[in-house]
């Protein structure tokens, strides 16, 4: 596992404090609390700039920095999930040893990993921090939670994990450790359309993913992203040809986002996907849609699915973006604002979506090879 995060924290200067306190995310209540900790009562009418200027000149410690940083830190939104099938001949002991080894590796990076055993799965909850120096002071450190679930399947194990570089590294380390302890080489399968270059079939994958999802009924397709790769220039051509091609590709539109309702049955999308020119047409790489469970309570779930690498259609991930709760008592239908999904909802819908996506991918690949 790579150590991407070195020691980087600095001691905030007076100016950093002044700038931070003047930002909107720091509420007046927070500033009043900071002053109150020094036995200073401030009036609500005192303007913020004066308070920030005064406070920045006072001595401040790590606790003050933490309070301000917590207000300014980026609110971690629910991250996308991805899935990897691992077919490996390993015993439960091998898994436990591998988990212990990975836990030690995570601890070396000053991060923490909690292991919880369930009847059908093992959850590894990893608390880690990322640093982005491009952001303003006090917003550079972001503490995040990542989850990695090992779920038993018919053929081996399915590893469902948060989709980001850090957790992907942890996942790869875990699989390597399992292989090391079991002494056998595992086979990894993930959802990808790399073997299917046909643009229409790639688009059909997403259409079927939405409209044929078992136990769920599509309510609306609200966002569709389409992609077309920039045409590559040939090296064998003469300079003149190269210049001409370069000028042609100046106007290339790579990605188009369509947002609205019923997007997949819109003329605009079909115009992009069914181009009759010599170049390849656009194809869908990301969708956001809402579904309702057929025998459910009437809640509406908003789901996002995408391929991280739009060109090769690899790195499939999904996210349950929220739930519009049905108000059964007042019979007013689903709420207008959505709430965050629970872990149970995410697991249930994620499981259905993963299975369905795998089946679709297998059918498409079988169609290509036959």
């Amino acid at each position: 596992m790579k150590n991407n995060f070195g020691q980087s924290l600095y001691y905030a200067s007076d100016k950093n404090i002044y700038d931070a306190l003047n930002r909107n995310r720091v509420t007046n209540e927070t500033i009043q609390e900071l002053f109150l900790a020094r036995n200073i009562i401030v009036s609500r009418k005192t303007d913020r700039e004066s308070l920030a200027l005064y406070f920045s000149r006072l001595p401040h410690d790590l606790e003050d920095h933490k309070n301000i940083g917590a207000k300014l830190g980026i609110v971690a939104r629910q991250e996308r999930l991805t899935t990897t099938d691992v077919e490996i001949a390993a015993k439960a002991e091998d898994y436990n040893q591998a988990i212990t080894a990975v836990k030690n590796q995570v601890a070396k990076l000053n991060d923490t990993m909690t292991v919880s055993h369930h009847p059908d799965r093992i959850d590894l909850i990893i608390k880690y921090s990322t640093i982005d120096f491009r952001k303003a002071e006090f917003s550079q450190v972001q503490v995040r939670d990542g989850i990695l679930s090992i779920i038993k399947s018919k053929t081996g194990y399915v590893i469902r994990s948060t989709y980001n570089d850090y957790i992907n590294d942890v996942r790869d380390s875990l699989v390597s450790e399992i292989e090391k302890h079991s002494g056998s080489q595992g086979v990894r399968n993930s959802i990808s359309l790399f073997a299917i270059p046909d643009a229409i079939k790639r688009s059909e994958f997403f259409h079927s993913l939405m409209y044929q999802m078992p136990d769920f009924r599509v309510k609306d397709v609200v966002e569709v992203y389409v992609y077309k790769q920039r045409p590559k220039s040939s090296d064998s051509k003469s300079n003149q040809d190269d210049e001409k091609e370069e000028s042609d590709s100046d106007t290339h539109v790579e990605r188009v986002l369509l947002r609205g309702s019923g997007v997949t049955r819109s003329k605009q999308l079909q115009d992009l996907i069914r181009q009759n020119d010599k170049e390849d047409p656009y194809y869908i790489v990301r969708v956001v849609w809402t579904v309702e469970q057929k025998l459910g309570l009437g809640h509406i779930y908003e789901i996002e699915a995408r391929f991280e690498d739009a060109q090769d259609c690899t790195g499939f991930s999904y996210r349950l973006r929220g739930v519009y709760v049905a108000d059964i008592k007042n019979r007013t239908g689903p709420s207008k604002s959505k709430r965050a999904s629970t872990r149970e909802e995410a697991n249930h819908i994620g499981g259905v979506l993963e299975e369905h996506a795998k089946k679709l991918m297998d059918n498409l690949v079988a169609g290509v090879t036959n």
Binding site: I200, S203, E204, H207, S208, Y211, Q212, R217, V218, K219, D220, S261, G262, T264, R265, S266, K267, L269, Q270, I273, R274, K294, G298, I328, K329, R331
Partner: protein, 221 residues
């Protein structure tokens, strides 16, 4: 009695007969969530699309406490499918506010590549009606965002059992997109009836004259 109608143009590479067959192949079963069935009760064949839904009912128990109960039920949309000038059209009878359930089902069954176009009859259908029925009389009109003077925008609503004055019509005809609703009284073979055109593309027509009126307005599709 009057009936509302709405038209959609179905754009697909599939032939009309295949579209019709695919829809009617989705039949009722105990486990099916939705299905289509053909109805032969009328002079023209129509298709009913059914889907399962639920309504929540409230009742008071012995202690007068509110108890909510979900009761399974069915929703239905009736429509006709026809081919005209190499295009497939759907005429929906008494459409609900949103026809997304029907559109979702059609998209799911017919597959990726189908797209729909809402046909607005306010402009085309009205023109066909006036051309074919010169005795049609405008009896009601409503228009919004009409520029009344240089600095006044307003809403105009006019209702009359006689003819509505020509000068108002001339003013409104310059801005057809401003008209929200207009209603005509027509006389067809001695039968009097009313036809109304709405901004969202729907028309409402009296059942006694619906056959003739539909054939006239659909000639403009």
């Amino acid at each position: 009695m009057a009936t509302r109608y709405r038209w959609l143009r179905l754009n697909t590479d599939l032939k009309f007969s295949i579209v019709q067959k695919r829809l009617l192949d989705v039949k009722f079963s105990e486990i099916s969530d939705d299905w289509f069935s053909e109805s032969n009760n009328e002079p023209e064949k129509s298709i009913h699309y059914y889907w399962r839904t639920a309504i929540t009912a409230l009742y008071l128990d012995k202690n007068n406490d509110q108890v909510f109960q979900s009761v399974p039920t069915l929703s239905v949309v009736e429509f006709s499918l026809f081919e005209y000038k190499n295009f497939i059209y759907i005429r929906i009878k008494n459409p609900p506010r949103s026809v997304s359930m029907l559109a979702n089902a059609l998209e799911r069954i017919l597959g990726f590549g189908v797209w729909f176009e809402n046909i607005n009859m306010l402009a085309n259908g009205r023109a066909a009606l006036l051309r074919n029925l010169p005795d049609a009389r405008l009896v009601s009109v409503k228009a919004t965002n009409v520029k009344l003077t240089e600095s006044v925008m307003g809403r105009i609503e006019a209702v009359s059992k006689e003819l509505i004055p020509d000068d108002l019509l001339v003013e409104l005809s310059m801005y057809p997109n401003l008209i929200d609703f207009c209603s005509y009284e027509v006389l067809i073979e001695g039968v009097k009836g009313q036809v109304s055109f709405y901004r969202n593309g729907q028309i409402k027509v009296g059942d006694n004259i619906s056959g003739v009126v539909l054939s006239i307005v659909e000639s403009m599709l």
